[in-house]
């Protein structure tokens, strides 16, 4: 059942605006709700919309291996049924959005992680993942006693590459001689790497066995497996996208050093709110350390110890432009 169980009109609704009630539509990337990272963050934003703005919402899931037509269909249905604004989660929606947004000029759209669609009614929600990754990279290097840390990527896409590059740069900033083990679970177009905790676990275990004592998993749900490995070996783990300390089981929580926060929830919420206020911004909206769209989590102070001092310092340098973490 869809979110909140609200009844919606079936097809045939008139195009977009002119309606009194605002209804918010959201289309997930593969992985969907429950991935404990990217999509879940979007969902959190949507929940906030529902509870704080008291708006009707509708979220639709994608299917593995579907074609552009399916995505067009999904966005089109939302727009056609009067959902406005409509949020597309993930760069895979770009070609579909380009078509649908043209068809419904009065509907406001947003897309996460892409700015190839340049239309007056499309807002591109972009994140500086490298900045947050830089910070947690620094945290890992500081925390590491062995001078050996790991990075587990879900799927080897340019997006995840950004996390890797930022992480390594941050770590090297602290310890130029640090060894970083890098491993991806799957290769595109095979996207199962984002949802294979078993492999996330095996890889992290391998890294710990090879001497790493901190592992950063930018791997969607597969990261939960890596956290299990960390708990078993009593080593450190760094989460991604959402604050994974909050979703981890109690016995695993102590080993979550921090998480790189990519505030898709904030982005979604702000975007919806701005549509309501009439202050909606078209084109690129960038989220970074500067506007709290990117951050690191401090929900496990026992583990972090005095790390925040260093991290906040680096953060200020990045915000001020003194440091520019690399993107590739």
């Amino acid at each position: 059942a869809g979110c909140g169980g609200k009844k919606a009109t079936t097809g045939g609704g008139s195009g977009g605006d002119g309606k009194k009630t605002v209804k918010v539509g959201l289309a997930y990337d593969v992985g969907g709700r429950g991935d404990k990272s990217f999509n879940d963050a979007a969902y959190a934003g949507l929940q906030k919309v529902q509870s704080e703005l008291k708006l009707d919402v509708k979220d639709l899931e994608a299917k593995e291996g579907e074609s552009d037509n399916d995505k067009i269909q999904r966005l089109d249905l939302l727009a056609k049924s009067g959902y406005n604004p409509v949020v597309a989660v993930g760069f895979v929606y770009a070609p579909a959005l380009a078509k649908v947004a043209k068809k419904y000029p009065n509907t406001k759209f947003a897309i996460v992680d892409d700015n190839t669609v340049q239309l007056p009614n499309v807002t591109d929600l972009l994140f500086a993942e490298q900045e947050g990754s830089y910070l947690v990279g620094a945290a890992a290097a500081k925390k590491s006693k062995t001078g050996n840390i790991g990075f587990v990527g879900g799927v080897q896409t340019p997006l995840i590459k950004k996390f890797e590059v930022g992480y390594i740069a941050g770590a090297k900033k602290i310890n130029p001689k640090i060894k970083v083990q890098v491993k991806y679970i799957s290769q595109p177009p095979d996207f199962t790497g984002f949802k294979d905790p078993a492999k996330g676990k095996t890889i992290a275990q391998g890294m710990y066995d090879q001497g790493a004592d901190v592992v950063y998993a930018a791997a969607g749900l597969s990261g939960t497996g890596s956290l299990q490995a960390a708990t078993a070996d009593k080593k450190w783990f760094i989460g991604v996208d959402s604050d994974q300390y909050k979703t981890a089981p109690a016995d695993e929580q102590p080993w979550v050093l921090t998480s790189m926060l990519k505030r898709v929830d904030t982005a979604v919420f702000n975007f919806v709110k701005s549509v309501g206020d009439g202050t909606v911004q078209k084109g690129d909206v960038r989220f970074s350390l500067k506007n709290d769209g990117i951050d690191y989590s401090t929900s496990n102070p026992a583990a972090l110890g005095d790390l925040p001092t260093t991290l906040n310092d680096l953060k200020q340098q990045i915000i001020s432009g003194a440091i520019t973490p690399p993107e590739k």
Partner: protein
Amino acid sequence: MIEQEVRTPAPDTGGARPRGATRGLVIGLGVFVALILLRLITGETDITSSGTMGATLALAVPIGMAALGGLWSERSGVVNIGLEGMMTFGTWGAAFGAYFSGNPWLGLLCGVIGGALGGLLHAIATVTFGVDHIVSGVAITILAPGVTRYLSDLLFTDEQGGGATQSPPLPSFPTWSVPGVGKPLGSLENHHWILISDLAGLVRGVLTGLSPITLIAILLVPASFFLLWRTAFGLRLRSCGENPIAAESLGVKVYRMKYAAVVISGGLAGLGGVFLAMVASSNYQEGQVNGRGYIGLAAMIFGNWRPGMVAGGAGLFGYADALQLRGGAGAVHAMLLLIGIGLLALAVWRGYKGRYVAAVISAVVAVGVLLWFFLTDELPREIVTYSPHITTLLVLAFAAQRLRMPAADGMRYRKGEGA
């Protein structure tokens, strides 16, 4: 499996072969020694580390359960390429049982039942209705993801942490290590002494951090052997896979045996699914099985439809996967050396046997592989990910002809229509 009548040399059936168990042991030892040598030559310690061995075991369990399931089914004459789907039912069943009861053991039960129901469906189609086994297997593999996603959407989306494609986190099984093994062996292992450290790695990897499912899975291998080869039930079941008409003429209830075998087959696949959802990870995930059912079938073929060898096959694939996941490109790269030398040995053997063309082909491939090894430092990461699948193909290409499947495997059998 389904072998069309393209004539390939018949399997050698000479009487003077070492018995299965001894043979398996000899092969196992040989492989282990080769790995030790490889570790020494290349310096890739991960080749025999306890971590690799442990990961091998963890990765081999689901494959092995699928393979054992395939063995049960095919020993009764029913080809089961629906294992993939039955494992999917197993993963979902495990999540359903464990989440809603809060008890991992009920997850185990529901997962096995889920797989067994898939098996039952396959049995109904193939045994009662005489549907082609491949066709039914494919249909079940198509059915499973649809059903589980539908059910997840109904049951998991409104739960905290759940969604249409995954269950909420599940309660986990306790793990268990053989007492007194971890520490001392760990230090032995770290010395990287020849043989001793390797052996320590193997023992430590296999004996520590075991889940109950792993134990059950390991025990199921000898249990299957015992049931199938040492009991009247097993004899009857196997006779249905060899010559169901003869079995029928001796009063064996062929349909009943086939049903039993295929349902057990599904249950075993389901158990593999339980392992994936509850031990390898902590929740049900759409697409979690990810081809393991098929690799299981390959392991079954590789193991010549015999439990011990089948377990060995699963171990091989588990090892290939563990190596590529942990060691990555380096360790897999080292494997090239082993393959190259193996092929070279094969070439010599063939030359000795007078099969010169085959010998030359092997030699050329061997040289190619060795050149590849010496001229590169790493294999492309994208390809390494699929080394278990490439291994499967290679192993089958070299082994398929010496194998003997049950004589009536895949045959449509109808009661009372025999000779």
